[in-house]
């Protein structure tokens, strides 16, 4: 038995030797990656937000596993709010998360993020100055930018034959049933707020109610509130108009050349998604190793080419392998409309917003026909019950 074990361990050592030699040469962090071999790293990221090996791309997580022998448990979320709920629920542990700006601000405020050890992340030097010390992390202690972008309108030119330049098309009855909207309150309210020229970070109750009214007015025209389902729906021509993140438009346009994109003149939301380590991470050293790995130029280039979002990385921008250099949608030459970041809202405003959102979702549920039908069912049930009791009594009397 012992012999077998010895043989096995010798074999393992031999099998992993080339990889470990390679690893030592690639990483220059102060963490010794060898000590992390065999551990597991839990990464929680947006859907379709990493180069995953499909369509001949590089499988980034696999590459990391091969190089460092650290197993990557990779899971997805569809919105910042989903991610926050999971994190708060506490049932799951994550080592790396990639939330957006306003959510990072909230997480920092609620003491849910670990400070990063930047000596373990030397590739931070690739981040351009304008993406350091952003408002949500002013001293840049908790987060490292991964992508940036803006929200715009995607439309199908086969179904929309006018030039679109405004959010008002989302309220146009001509396109009733062909419009999609975000299935998360922040982005959906943002559109109504830009359309009504309300500050997207307002703390004014009336402003939020006005935006909610506007969304209620829009609801009958909306086909569905969606997040990742939008890819299928826009690519198949199932819907004509949808607001979404610019980078995802490029992915969709690859599969349907009728799709077009515009930044509405009323202005739009700009965002940065950054890599962070949540409090309670079990494998912080590996998380920092992973973040540093994600910032390596060739890895970051593979990701940038795959997810098509704006890439805040000087190495990628200089790389010849980067396919989207100067892409007008991602890097518009001039921005002549209002662009703003979402900021974290006060707890009161957050709860107001989510209540208004719930109200919007169930708007129109008060349907008298349904009530009448239910009452009818109850009456029928009572009648049957009474009849059967009477019959039973009668039979008992007969006996």
């Amino acid at each position: 038995m012992k012999k077998i074990f010895a043989f096995l361990s010798a074999f393992m050592l031999f099998a992993f030797m080339p990889a470990s030699v390679l690893a030592a040469s690639a990483a220059e962090t102060s963490v010794d990656p060898e000590s992390l071999r065999g551990t597991t790293l839990y990464v929680y990221n947006w859907g379709e937000y990493i180069s995953d090996g499909s369509e001949g791309s590089l499988d980034v997580n696999k590459e990391f596993e091969n190089r460092y022998g650290i197993k990557v448990e990779y899971t997805n979320y569809a919105s910042n709010e989903d991610m926050y709920a999971k994190l708060l629920g506490g049932g799951a542990n994550y080592d790396v998360i990639i939330p957006s700006d306003y959510m990072i601000e909230r997480l920092i405020k609620e003491d849910l993020l670990e400070k990063l050890d930047f000596s373990n992340i030397p590739n931070y030097s690739y981040i351009p100055e304008e993406y350091k010390d952003l408002f949500f992390d002013p001293a840049n202690e908790y987060s490292i930018p991964y992508t940036f972008g803006m929200v715009g309108l995607i439309y199908n030119t086969a179904m929309v034959d006018e030039e679109i330049d405004s959010w008002d098309v989302m309220w146009d009855e001509k396109y009733s049933g062909q419009i999609l909207n975000f299935n998360n309150p922040r982005d959906a309210f943002g559109i109504a707020q830009y359309y009504l020229d309300i500050d997207i970070n307002t703390e004014n109750v009336e402003d939020w109610q006005r935006a909610a009214e506007k969304l209620k007015e829009q609801k009958p025209l909306i086909q569905s509130y969606v997040m990742d389902e939008i890819f299928n729906k826009m690519e198949n021509g199932e819907a004509a108009i949808a607001p979404y993140y610019a980078g995802d438009f490029l992915t969709m346009a690859d599969n349907n050349e009728d799709l077009a994109f515009v930044y509405p003149k009323e202005g739009t939301n700009v965002f940065v998604d950054s890599m962070c380590i949540p409090k309670g991470a079990q494998n912080k050293a590996a998380a920092e190793l992973y973040i540093n790995f994600m910032l390596e130029t060739d890895i970051a280039t593979a990701n940038a080419n795959f997810i098509c979002y704006g890439c805040p990385h000087t190495g990628v921008q200089a790389s010849d392998d980067y396919d989207l250099k100067g892409e007008e949608v991602l890097y518009p030459a001039s921005v002549d409309f209002k662009t703003e970041y979402f900021h974290n809202l006060s707890p009161e405003t957050l709860s107001l917003m989510t209540n208004l959102w719930d109200e919007l979702k169930i708007d129109g549920a008060n349907n008298t026909a349904v009530y009448i039908a239910l009452v009818a069912v109850v009456v029928v049930v009572i009648v049957i019950a009474v009849v059967s009791i009477i019959r039973k009594k009668r039979r008992e009397n007969d006996n």
């Binding site: 709010e81 989903d82 926050y84 709920a85 708060l88 049933g177 998360n184 309150p185 609801k219 009958p220 909306i222 086909q223 569905s224 509130y225 389902e229 299928n232 729906k233 198949n236 021509g237 199932e238 709860s351 989510t354 209540n355 959102w357 719930d358 109200e359 979702k361 169930i362 549920a365 008060n366 349907n367 349904v370 009530y371 039908a373 239910l374 069912v377 049930v381 049957i384 019950a385 059967s388 009791i389 019959r391 039973k392 039979r395």
Partner: protein, 278 residues
């Protein structure tokens, strides 16, 4: 149960009791606790009061759940009878076919209904191809009911089938000997004897239909927000565990009431005694 259950039997039951206590009773208590407290942990009725706002959503959920259950019953009953009357081999194959879809996660199956029902989906592509007008199916309440029926019908077929397959055929013969025609056989033998299966089938279809959220989100578009959607949003979007727990509690109570009403039907009245009154 007989008096003085043996120690062995009690030991065998123990794991299940512990399991139920930890994973059923304790969570229910936690739900109740959240439902009656506010975010500071103080006792309050406000969460329950706020449910008034969702009366319409409750009504819609129960209504659609009832429709789905009724359709399942109508479809499943003859099928279960047919299967139970077939040869043994055929029965095995049919039951496997009924269960086959359950080998795949129901989220995936619901998702694929989107592709089938969409305006440019499989059905409409076919309709246009043979020269008919395309139908608008996705994002309607009909689509939601269809999704419920499709996802939950095995839970109706299986219990009815398992009751019917055990039915003593001599009862049917006795009924015929006593001059009963086909309708009598159905009304006085088949129906009363299959009631337990029907009741558990109805429970197993109605409960998940009323509380579903995924089906309505994927197939209902904006037309159908069910109570499950509201609960999901309370937990996932608003992080309002107290409101969500209150809604869940009320939903549970409503479902229990529906179940109690139905169990009265199966338990006491003449249906159960039907067997004796042939």
């Amino acid at each position: 149960m007989k008096k003085g259950t043996s120690l062995g039997a009690r030991l065998l039951a123990a794991p299940h009791l512990v399991w139920s206590a930890i994973f059923v009773v304790v969570p229910l208590l936690v739900v109740a606790f959240y439902a009656f407290t506010d975010s500071s942990g103080a006792f309050t009725f406000n969460n329950i009061k706020e449910i008034n706002n969702y009366a319409g959503t409750f009504a819609l959920s129960i209504w659609l759940g009832l429709i789905a259950t009724a359709i399942c019953l109508v479809l499943a009953y003859p099928l279960a009878y047919f299967i139970s009357q077939s040869k043994f081999n055929v029965q095995q194959t049919m039951i496997t076919l009924v269960m086959l879809p359950m080998w795949m996660n129901f989220l995936l199956r619901t998702y694929s209904w989107m592709t089938i029902l969409e305006n440019n989906g499989l059905i409409n592509t076919f309709l246009t191809w043979i020269g008919l007008q395309p139908l608008h199916m996705i994002n309607t309440r009909g689509a939601v009911v269809l999704g419920m029926v499709y996802d939950f019908i095995p839970y109706m077929i299986l219990p009815i089938y398992s009751v019917m397959v055990k039915l003593d055929h001599s009862l049917v013969e006795a009924c015929q000997d006593l001059g009963g025609n086909r309708i009598d056989v159905f009304r006085r033998v088949l129906l009363p004897n299959s009631v337990p299966g029907v009741v558990s089938g109805i429970t197993m279809v109605f409960v998940p239909s009323v509380s579903t959220f995924y089906i309505s989100q994927k197939l209902g578009g904006t037309s159908t927000a069910l109570i499950g959607d509201v609960i999901e949003s309370k937990f996932m979007t608003s992080n309002n565990y107290h409101g969500g727990a209150a809604l869940s509690l009320v939903l549970m109570v409503l479902i229990l009431i529906c179940m109690a009403v139905m169990n009265r039907f199966s338990g006491e009245d003449d249906l159960e005694n039907g067997r004796l009154t042939v």
